[in-house]
Amino acid sequence: MARRPPHCLHRWVLGLLLWAIAAGTLSAQTLRIDSALVSTGSVERFPDTGLRTVTLPDQWRNGSYPGGESVWYRVGLRPVAPLRHDDLLALYIERVCSSFAVFLNGQRVASGGRMSEPLTHNCNYPQLVVLPTALLREDGNTLDIQVVGYPPAQVASRSRGGGLSALEVGPFELLSQRHTRQLALQVGVPQAVSATLVLMGGFMFVMGWINRRESHLAYFGALSCSWAVVESRLWLRDVPLSGAAIEFLLASMVPFVTLAAVQFLLRYARWRHRWIDIALPAQCALMPVTLVLAGTARLSSATAVWYTLLALQALAAVLFYLRAHWKSRRGAFWPTATLLSVITVGVAVEFLAQRMALPHALTTLAQLATPVLFVIVGLRLVQQHGQALQAAEASRISLEARIREATAEIERNFRQLAELRVEQVTDRERKRIAADLHDDLGAKLLTIVHTSDDQRISTLAREALEEMRLSVRGLTGKPVRLADALGDWRAEVVSRLAQAGIEAEWSAPEDLPQTLSARAYVQTTRILREATSNIIKHSGASRCTLRCAIEEGDFQLVIQDNGGGIPMELDGRLDRGHGMASMKHRAKQLQGQCLVESGPGYGTVIRLTLPLDRAVEP
């Protein structure tokens, strides 16, 4: 290598490019060997007995070679082109299974590992053997390849059955590139994917295990991990177990893979059944038993039956899931369906590859694509899980908000209740005071009204009783509709005036929506009562007009009589004896005003104005 000239790098890159563009260039510079002499025997050297010719690739068939013995292949080799002194010659073996040794002109030049049980498992490793220039002869060389492996009956998959592919001899650099590439594809990538599957599967298994409602995640994790275990046979070369034991263990893994796959699909479709939960684990236990019963020699046929059965189960689960998914219309159907179909095809290719010869590229593709698709499905599941978590978080937040609202509502209600309670207590207390007033004060006043001989005292007591009643009403009363108040006032004023022989004319707007507080109602009633009393007692009027109106939010009451008017006092003010002062005072208490216009011979006009807005407030 050290002697290689500097320009070899360019050649290397160029060679790679050339190979990539046209594989024909390679075959032109290499020698492909597709037939060999074959012999069997567990000896150190090529046994010269029982020679026959076979074509390569030679996939061993049942009974083609005696079991337990090495199979020796011999090919003659003559260099195709004169070798330059810096060129190395190499032998490239695409597939040799399971272990091997290479002899050039009787000298061992390469070993593939252990040649006795437990055999090294080289089946998926492409081999590159350097043919030392010193051993090469110009006139012709003998290349012996000793192969040990298993007949197809003893392995579950054809890919692990013994055999030798066609050989290629050519420049080391050229074949080395190819070897590197194939090695990466057949060993490196599966290793990486296996590691990814194990990591992702383990993560998802834990996630699903913790979150039992998402049990499909756990099953998918189990599926990923078990698939990675099964796939490990592609790159795991030296296992301290006999081939038969490894085959047995691998085959026993497959029902577990099926269990995980079927349960994943069913749980993902939100469906589970007790019998399936029992049957699938039972199957995992049953299959190893039947394999043991069948024995090593019939392992292949036993697994064939089982694998078919398991594949059908998985297929049924896929169909079930797709049907459920289609029915529920949950999320996008076609991407999921496509993904599942591709995985199914990939598994089907692997399944077929175990039984028959398929193009090497196709099986490699299937081997690689299936786990990659698993990774994609896994990522999708993690994404869904994340979204579900996010949704749960969002709903938790909204729930919290609603709880806060509800709590606030409850507090508000509680406050209102407390206020109501206070109101009730106050109301009850007012009623009690009112009842006491009626029963004690009222009764006494009433007695005075009806027993006093003095008319004036009797009238005063009656007025006091009315006042008391109004006060009580102001104390306990609810707001009064203005329309109702007008009805009450009209009934009282008109009948009183009529009894006194005074013609009354009342006008008021109809259907007023405003309300008066109990206090405003009571005070206005007093003012009106006072005014009416004045007219009856003092005015000498024969006619009285009462007009009610709403103007600019104010309640207006104009009482006009045609009486003698109120006599002026000496100081120029109207007679206080007629209760004008108390009427004005009451109006002022309601933030209103009471104007009295009077002149001898003109009668009297009383204008009462009350702001309704403020009067409405209790």
Partner: protein, 216 residues
């Protein structure tokens, strides 16, 4: 000769009332009581034509006596004589079957006139009582249970019309003029209104009792 029950707890007022009643009905025999308990016993024993009943009494409410009288002597007239002028106190008595009410503190002449009117079948009706009656019978918001079962205790349009006008403050004579009806006819409407209020309230109470019985 009239038998008149006078239920009043204040002795002075009772004496004054007795004098007043005897002035309106000189030939009447007045039986006095000062407690609900005594009045109820009298109602079971003696047949009365007229009963003047105070509401707030030491051992209960005069409404009980009104109810009892309505039950055992349907043809007698109960008149509430009270110091309470508000419908809160009066309405239950009217529902129980009282045929009008008199406010105690009114001048003697007024009470005399009202008593005469009542005994002639012309009970008074204030705007606030009219509003209460209308609200009670209001078919729009919440008809009384009894009115659904017994359509004949619903108010007629004319009766409602009278109530509406009373609520607006018109006096009964005024309403008579407005509707072109005699004072007598208007009084009949008011009597009907009182009667229906009583019948409906009693039916409602009976239905309520029945309903409670059903659920027991």
């Amino acid at each position: 000769m009239k038998h008149i029950l006078l239920l009043e707890d204040l002795p002075e007022i009772r004496a004054w009332m007795r004098a007043l009643v005897l002035q309106v009905f000189p030939a009447a025999q007045v039986v006095e009581a000062s407690r609900v308990h005594d009045a109820l016993e009298l109602v079971s024993a003696v047949k009365f034509d007229l009963a003047l009943i105070d509401l707030g009494l030491p051992d209960g409410s005069g409404v009980d006596v009104v109810t009892r009288l309505r039950d055992v002597q349907p043809e007698s007239q109960s008149v509430v004589v009270t110091i309470h002028d508000d419908d809160e106190h009066l309405f239950p008595a009217l529902q129980a079957g009282a045929f009008g009410y008199i406010l105690k503190e009114q001048p003697r002449e007024l009470i005399t006139e009202q008593l005469q009117r009542i005994s002639q079948g012309e009970p008074p009706l204030s705007p606030s009582i009219a509003r209460r009656v209308m609200a009670y019978f209001s078919a729009k918001s919440k008809p009384p249970v009894a009115a659904q079962v017994m359509p004949h205790v619903q108010l007629t349009d004319r009766e409602t019309e009278v109530l509406l006008r009373v609520a607006k403050g018109y006096t009964l004579p005024e309403i008579g003029v407005q509707l072109g009806l005699s004072r007598h006819t208007i009084a009949d409407y008011v009597k009907q209104i009182y009667r229906k209020l009583n019948v409906s309230s009693r039916a409602e109470a009976a239905l309520e009792a029945q309903r409670m019985g059903l659920f027991r």
